[in-house]
Symmetry: C2
Subunit: 184 residues, 2 copies
């Protein structure tokens, strides 16, 4: 079984016109994805944001639920929110995992070469270096990040004939963790 | 293939001490679960709330994204948010599905008799009456609702040995729709 972590990227990501932007941190992303990360046995959730004030904001949320009054009120949140690690850039998350770590990217749209979730599940169950599964906020990761990835995961397809593929990043991360790492 | 809808119940649900309470509507529940509902081909998402002002609030959110300025800014939200139906009580959602509709409840904890997700998937793929899959907010549905259910679905289990089972309702709904209805 390989060590797996996740990253939520706020820059560089796309906006709906395809421009490269920096998105703001969403409080419920931190909670929902950290809870899913903890449930599925991932090691950490890296929150990637280049703006110090935004990283500090996420740090205060983490503190509230791990050592502050939130931790006393809802202790179940503590082990999940402890998984949060705030970093400036994706490279910092990769560096934290150690040399040889693999970058696995995700997107909502079909790309040329991508790994099926069943094949991804098999790879994670075997031996190998740590893996960082990366999600983009906004309209998704920029092409340059997907291009440097060791693996690009297939999108979660809808059975709708109109090709609707607009899950929230919170839902998409939960579904992907379940497909890659869920108890069967 | 059976017709499937979902309901998100704000009353009667449990708080963390096990008391029966009414929870407030959370904006991102509406967005995330409606987007998952639409992606997985469910017909409607019933928001069950006994307080008129709360139903009106959800109605305004729906309006903003289906006919208001939100719909012009992010048109992808429109078909998802159109699935929202605000009702006073769970019985109103059941009545909307027609007589003979089945009530399927969910919870995060293991109950005596429950249907596995694989078996639920098979049942939904066959013929039969419409199904309403019900999620509780807060600390989950009250026992009386689970007792009257035609089917109680098994919980989403973690592979953690400590039995941690604290997914957000947004994540749990997404995972369950994927297991029951996702493209394989």
């Amino acid at each position: 079984m390989r060590r797996v972590s996740a990253a939520l990227v706020h820059h560089p990501v796309l906006d709906r016109q395809g421009a490269v932007v920096t998105t703001a941190i969403t409080n419920l992303d931190l909670h929902d994805i950290a809870r899913s990360v903890h449930t599925y046995g991932l090691e950490a959730l890296y929150i990637v944001h280049p703006v110090a004030a935004q990283r500090e904001l996420a740090g205060k949320v983490k503190e509230h639920w791990t050592t502050g009054s939130g931790a006393r009120r809802i202790p179940d949140r503590t082990p999940a929110l402890q998984k949060l690690q705030m970093v400036d850039a994706l490279d910092d998350a990769m560096a934290a995992l150690g040399s040889g770590a693999e970058l696995w990217t995700t997107s909502a749209s079909v790309r040329g070469e991508s790994l099926s979730h069943a094949a991804g599940r098999e790879r994670l169950a075997g031996d190998g270096p740590p893996v960082l599964i990366v999600f983009g906020t906004g309209w998704g990761l920029v092409e340059a990040v997907c291009e440097r990835a060791d693996v690009h995961l297939a999108p979660i397809l809808s059975q709708r004939s109109d090709g609707y593929n607009h899950l929230s990043v919170r839902a998409a991360a939960a579904i992907l963790f379940d497909r890659l790492l869920g108890v069967r």
